[in-house]
C-alpha cells in the first residue's frame, strides 16, 4: 500500500558555503523531523537519572547524605547536574532545542496548511499503477451519471467545516491519460476524473497539538515566575493579616513582588473537628470571617478540599491542632507571658508537643517550658496517654528550664523547639528535673520562687496554606486543547480517492484508486462503496478486512 510521505522537513540538499548558508543549514537540521525524534529520545533518556538518584529540590536531606556517603562519585555527580536533573544545563538544553525545533517546524507547516486549505483539490494522477487499493467497476450508465453517483455516495459536505471533516470533490473532463488519447478513427477520447480528498482536519489537529504544546511550556514557565505560597497558623479567635512577614514560611517566583499581596484579613471564628468514637477524623471545618480591603466582611467555611478563594489565590485548610493559652507570672508577681502557644500534634490522638518561651522576666534568668499535651488523658500502668483527639480530659506535662533561651543571638529559631545548650532544667526538692502536669484551669507554682503558670483555655488552631499560581487555568486550557488536537490528529483519516470514467463508450468501465496511510483500515471500504455506487451494486460487507 502506498504510504503518504509526511516528512516535508528532512534535509533536502547539501549546504552551500558561507555563514548564511551554514546558519540556514543548521536551522534546517534543527527543525528536521529526524532531529526532533532524536531530541525526544534524548529527553526521555535524560529524565531517567532523576528517578534513580536523589534530587536536591525533592529530597535535600537524602541528597546531602548521598554526597556524604559517596565521597568520590557524589560530588562529581553533583557537579554534573545529576542531582538536580530537571534544573541541569543539559536537560534544559535538550528541551530548549526541542522547542526551538518545534517552533521552527510549526510555523512553516501552519503556513503550508493554510495554503493547502485554500488550494483547489489536486487533479487525478495520470496513472493508477502505483496505487493500492484500486479497483474497477463496469456500469451501463454513462460516465457523468457514474461519477455523480459516486460523488453522492461519498457525501461531500458544504462550508469550511465540511471541507475540514468530509471529502472535498473535484471533477475534471479531460483527454484520456492512461492509454491512447485518440480512437482508431482519430477522434479524441475523453474521460471524467474525480478526486475526493479528505484529511485536512488531521493536519489541523496535528498543528493544534504542537502549538498547544508550546503554550503548555509557556504556561508552566509563567507559573514558576508568578507563583507564591505561604503557610500560616491561625488560632481560634485570632485574626491573620495577609502579608509576607505574617507567614511562617513564604516563597515566591521571581516575577512576583510580595508587596503586591492584598492586605486582607482572615479571622478564625471557630474550628470544628469531628472525630469518630475510635478517634478517626471525620470532618474539619474552619469558620472564618474574611475581610478584604474596601469590601464587606463575609463569613466562609473552609474544608480540606474546599479552599477559600481570595485575591486570586486559594487558602487551604492543611492541618489543625491545639494552642493552649497560658499565663506565666514571674517571681516578682508580674505577668511575663500570656497567650496561646501552638502545640503540634504528633499522632492520631493529637498527643501534641510545644514550648513556652518566656524571655521577659522581671528579674533573674529566662524561663523555658517544654510541654506535652494529652487531650484525653487516661492513666495506664505504663504512664499517661491520650485515648482520643477531642479534649475530654486535657492535661499538659511540662519540664521547666532556666537560663538563656538564645533568642538574642539573631539566629532565627524554631518556635517549636527549645535550644537547650544554655539552659538547665529546674530541679525539684528531690534533685530530679521538675516535671509537672497541669489540667485546664489549673495553676502550678514552680519551685525556687520561679513564679506560677496557669493553663487558661484550650482553643484550636488551623494551619492554612495559601497558594497562588495564576497560570493554572491557562495550563489546563492548553493541556485540553493539546489532548483534543492529538485525538483529532491521530484518529481523523487522511485519504484521497480517485475515480476515472471514460466518456462515450458503450459500457462505462470506472477505474478507481486511493491513497492513504497504511493504517487507514477504512479506505478500501470507502473505495468499494464509491465504485459500487456507480453501478448500483451492493458494496462488499467485510469493511474491516484488510
Amino acid at each position: 500500500m502506498a504510504r503518504v510521505k509526511i516528512d516535508n522537513y528532512a534535509v533536502a540538499d547539501a549546504p552551500r558555503l558561507g555563514v548564511r548558508g551554514w546558519l540556514r543549514w543548521i536551522w534546517r537540521q534543527v527543525t528536521s523531523m529526524r532531529i526532533a525524534l532524536i531530541l525526544l529520545l534524548l529527553l526521555a533518556l535524560a529524565a531517567i537519572p532523576g528517578s534513580v538518584l536523589p534530587q536536591w529540590p525533592q529530597q535535600p536531606g537524602e541528597t546531602k547524605a548521598f554526597i556524604d556517603n559517596n565521597a568520590v562519585i557524589g560530588p562529581v555527580l553533583d557537579k554534573l547536574g545529576f542531582l538536580d536533573v530537571f534544573g541541569s544545563a543539559w536537560f534544559t538544553a535538550i528541551y530548549v532545542l526541542l522547542f526551538a525545533s518545534l517552533i521552527g517546524c510549526i510555523v512553516p507547516r501552519a503556513i503550508a496548511h493554510y495554503k493547502a486549505m485554500r488550494a483547489p483539490v489536486p487533479a487525478v494522477p495520470s496513472s493508477f499503477a502505483r496505487y493500492e487499493p484500486s479497483g474497477r467497476e463496469e456500469t451501463d450508465v454513462d460516465a457523468a451519471t457514474a461519477i455523480e453517483r459516486a460523488r453522492k455516495e461519498l457525501r461531500p459536505r458544504a462550508g469550511w467545516l465540511g471541507a475540514l471533516t468530509g471529502y472535498r470533490i473535484r471533477v475534471d473532463e479531460r483527454v484520456v491519460r492512461d492509454g491512447a488519447a485518440t480512437t482508431s478513427d482519430g477522434k479524441e477520447r475523453r474521460e471524467l476524473a474525480m478526486t475526493a480528498d479528505m484529511g485536512h482536519i488531521r493536519e489541523l489537529g496535528n498543528l493544534i497539538f504542537h502549538i498547544s504544546l508550546v503554550f503548555v511550556l509557556i504556561a508552566v514557565g509563567a507559573g514558576t515566575l508568578l507563583t507564591y505560597r505561604g503557610q500560616a497558623i491561625i488560632v481560634e479567635g485570632r485574626t491573620f493579616t495577609n502579608a509576607a512577614v505574617a507567614y511562617d514560611t513564604f516563597s515566591h517566583g521571581s516575577g512576583f513582588d510580595p508587596a503586591d499581596l492584598q492586605p486582607f484579613t482572615v479571622k478564625l471564628d471557630g474550628l470544628d473537628a469531628v472525630f469518630e468514637d475510635n478517634g478517626r477524623p471525620k470532618e474539619f471545618t474552619a469558620h472564618v470571617t474574611l475581610q478584604e480591603p474596601g469590601k464587606d466582611a463575609t463569613q466562609k467555611d473552609v474544608q480540606v478540599n474546599r479552599p477559600l478563594q481570595v485575591d486570586g489565590a486559594k487558602m487551604y485548610l492543611q492541618g489543625n491542632g491545639y494552642a493552649p493559652v497560658f499565663t506565666y507570672t514571674d517571681g516578682d508577681g508580674n505577668v511575663a507571658f500570656q497567650g496561646p502557644v501552638v502545640f503540634l500534634p504528633q499522632d492520631q490522638v493529637y498527643t501534641s508537643t510545644g514550648v513556652v518561651k518566656v524571655p521577659d522576666v522581671t528579674s533573674g534568668e529566662q524561663i523555658g517550658l517544654k510541654g506535652t499535651l494529652l487531650p484525653t488523658e487516661v492513666t495506664k500502668p505504663g504512664g499517661s496517654v491520650s485515648i482520643h483527639p477531642d479534649p475530654g480530659n486535657p492535661v499538659i506535662y511540662f519540664t521547666a528550664y532556666t537560663g538563656d533561651l538564645g533568642l538574642d543571638d539573631g539566629v532565627p529559631q524554631n518556635a517549636y523547639q527549645l535550644d537547650e545548650s544554655q539552659l538547665s532544667p529546674v530541679r525539684g526538692d528531690d534533685g530530679q528535673p521538675f516535671v509537672f502536669g497541669i489540667t485546664l484551669g489549673d495553676t502550678v507554682t514552680l519551685p525556687d520562687g520561679l513564679g506560677t503558670i496557669s493553663f487558661d483555655a484550650l482553643p484550636r488552631f488551623a494551619a492554612m496554606d495559601l497558594r497562588a499560581d495564576p497560570s493554572l487555568p491557562w495550563l489546563l486550557a492548553a493541556s485540553i486543547s493539546m489532548l483534543v488536537g492529538l485525538a483529532i490528529s491521530l484518529f481523523a483519516t487522511r485519504r484521497r480517492i480517485w475515480l476515472v470514467a471514460p466518456m462515450d463508450t458503450p459500457t462505462t468501465v470506472v477505474e478507481a484508486a486511493a491513497l492513504a496511510p497504511s493504517h487507514d483500515g477504512g479506505v478500501e471500504a470507502a473505495l468499494d462503496r464509491a465504485l459500487a455506487a456507480t453501478s448500483g451494486r451492493v458494496p462488499d460487507a467485510d469493511e474491516e478486512d484488510e
Binding site: 529526524r34 525524534l37 529520545l41 528517578s51 525533592q58 478486512d545
Partner: protein, 364 residues
C-alpha cells in the same frame, strides 16, 4: 480468608490456567496454519508447473484461512500425485487447526469471564476500585488486554495475536497471584478521590492497549526478521549474538510466523492500538497532574512515578515521529515502541518497588 477473597483468588487462578491452555491452543493453531500455508504454497507451485490453472483471479486475499481455502481447489484441479498428498495432510492439519482454535477461543472467553469475576470480587472485598495496589493494577490491566483483544477480534481476524495476549495475561496473573499478592486494605486519604478512579482506570486501560500493541509489534519485528535477508555482521563480538539469533528466528520454531500477517499490516494494527494508548496515556498524565494539584498542592513535582509517566509519554511520542521519518519507519520505529512498553513495565514494577516517592503507597 473470607468468602470474597477466596472467590477472587480461585476465579483468577482459574483464569490463569485457562489462559495458559488458550495460549498453547493458539500456538498449535498458529503453527498448523503456518504448515498449511507452506503446503499450499508448495501445492500451488506444483500446480503451476504441471498445469496452467489460474489461481485466485480477483482479490488474492491474505490471511491464513483463505490460504487454506485456496489450497484445496488448487490441489484438486491439478490432480497430480504430489499436490494431492499435500492436500490430504493439509486437510488433517486443517481439522486440527480448527479444533485448536475452538479450544483456544472457548478457553479465552471463559478465562475472561472468570478474570472479570475475580477482579470484581476483589473490588467488592476491598470496597474500592480494584486498581490501587500493584496486585490490583496487574489483574485489572491484564483483564483490559484480554478484553481489548476480544473486542478487536470481533471486528477483524487477529487470531494470530491470541497466543501472545493470553501468554501475557497468564504471566501477569501468575506473577500477580504469587509475587505481588496483597490483602485488600482500606484506602489512604490521599487516594480517596474521584481522580483516583479517573487517573488510574485510564492508566490501566492504556496499559492494556499498549500491551496488545506490543504483541502486534513483537510479531511484526519477528516476521520482518524472518522474512528478510540477514545482514552480514563482521564485528566478531556481535556475531556471537547475531548468527544464532538469525538461525533461531529463521528456524522451525518460528515457523508459526508465516501464519501472521505481513509486517506492514501488523505495523498498521500496532499503530492504531498505540495511537489509542497514547491519547489515553496523555489523559492519564493530565488527570494525574490535576489530582496532584488537589492532593499535594503542586501539579508536577518530578516524583519518580511522574518522571516515568513522562518518559513513557515521550518515548511513544518519539515512536509516532519515527513512523513518519525516513529511515526510521518500519523496524526502528517498532523498536522504539518496544522500548516504550518496556518503560511501562518498569514504571509499575521497579519504580513502585525500588524508587521512593509520594506514589509509594502502591506498595502498601
Amino acid at each position: 480468608m473470607n468468602d470474597l477473597q477466596q472467590l477472587s483468588a480461585m476465579a483468577l487462578w482459574g483464569a490463569c490456567v485457562l489462559y495458559a491452555i488458550a495460549m498453547v491452543a493458539y500456538a498449535i493453531r498458529l503453527s498448523r496454519v503456518a504448515e498449511l500455508k507452506g503446503a499450499a504454497a508448495a501445492a500451488s507451485k506444483g500446480a503451476e508447473s504441471q498445469a496452467t490453472v489460474s489461481v485466485g483471479t480477483s482479490h488474492t486475499k491474505e490471511g491464513a484461512a483463505s490460504a487454506v481455502a485456496d489450497a484445496q481447489p488448487t490441489g484438486g484441479k491439478a490432480g497430480a500425485s504430489k499436490p494431492k498428498a499435500t492436500t490430504a495432510s493439509a486437510a488433517i492439519g486443517d481439522q486440527k487447526a480448527t479444533k485448536a482454535l475452538g479450544i483456544a477461543r472457548a478457553a479465552t472467553l471463559v478465562g475472561a469471564v472468570l478474570h472479570t469475576v475475580g477482579v470484581t470480587a476483589r473490588g467488592i472485598e476491598a470496597e474500592h476500585v480494584p486498581w490501587s495496589t500493584m496486585y490490583e493494577y496487574t489483574i485489572s490491566g491484564s483483564l483490559v488486554a484480554v478484553v481489548v483483544f476480544l473486542l478487536v477480534q470481533r471486528k477483524r481476524d487477529i487470531t494470530y495475536m491470541g497466543a501472545g495476549v493470553t501468554g501475557l495475561a497468564t504471566i501477569a496473573l501468575g506473577l500477580g497471584l504469587t509475587v505481588l499478592y496483597q490483602d485488600a486494605t482500606g484506602l489512604q486519604p490521599a487516594l480517596q478521590s474521584f481522580w483516583l478512579v479517573i487517573h488510574v482506570s485510564i492508566a490501566t486501560i492504556a496499559t492494556g492497549i499498549f500491551g496488545v500493541g506490543f504483541i502486534a509489534t513483537a510479531l511484526q519485528l519477528m516476521r520482518d526478521y524472518r522474512d528478510s535477508e540477514p545482514k552480514v555482521v563482521s564485528n566478531r563480538f556481535l556475531k556471537v549474538f547475531h548468527d544464532p539469533g538469525v538461525r533461531v528466528i529463521k528456524g522451525k520454531t518460528f515457523r508459526f510466523l508465516e501464519a501472521v500477517p505481513t509486517p506492514k499490516k501488523l505495523e498498521a494494527l500496532a499503530f492504531r492500538l498505540n495511537a489509542v494508548g497514547f491519547v489515553l496515556w496523555t489523559f492519564t498524565v493530565m488527570a494525574g497532574a490535576i489530582w496532584a494539584e488537589h492532593a499535594w498542592g503542586r501539579y508536577w513535582g518530578w516524583d519518580p512515578k511522574e518522571i516515568w509517566s513522562f518518559v513513557i509519554w515521550v518515548i511513544y511520542a518519539a515512536y509516532l515521529h519515527a513512523r513518519t521519518t525516513q529511515g526510521w519507519a518500519g523496524r526502528r520505529s517498532a523498536w522504539v515502541s518496544i522500548v516504550g512498553f518496556a518503560a511501562i513495565i518498569m514504571n509499575f514494577t521497579v519504580v513502585n518497588l525500588v524508587f521512593q516517592g509520594l506514589h509509594s503507597y502502591a506498595k502498601a
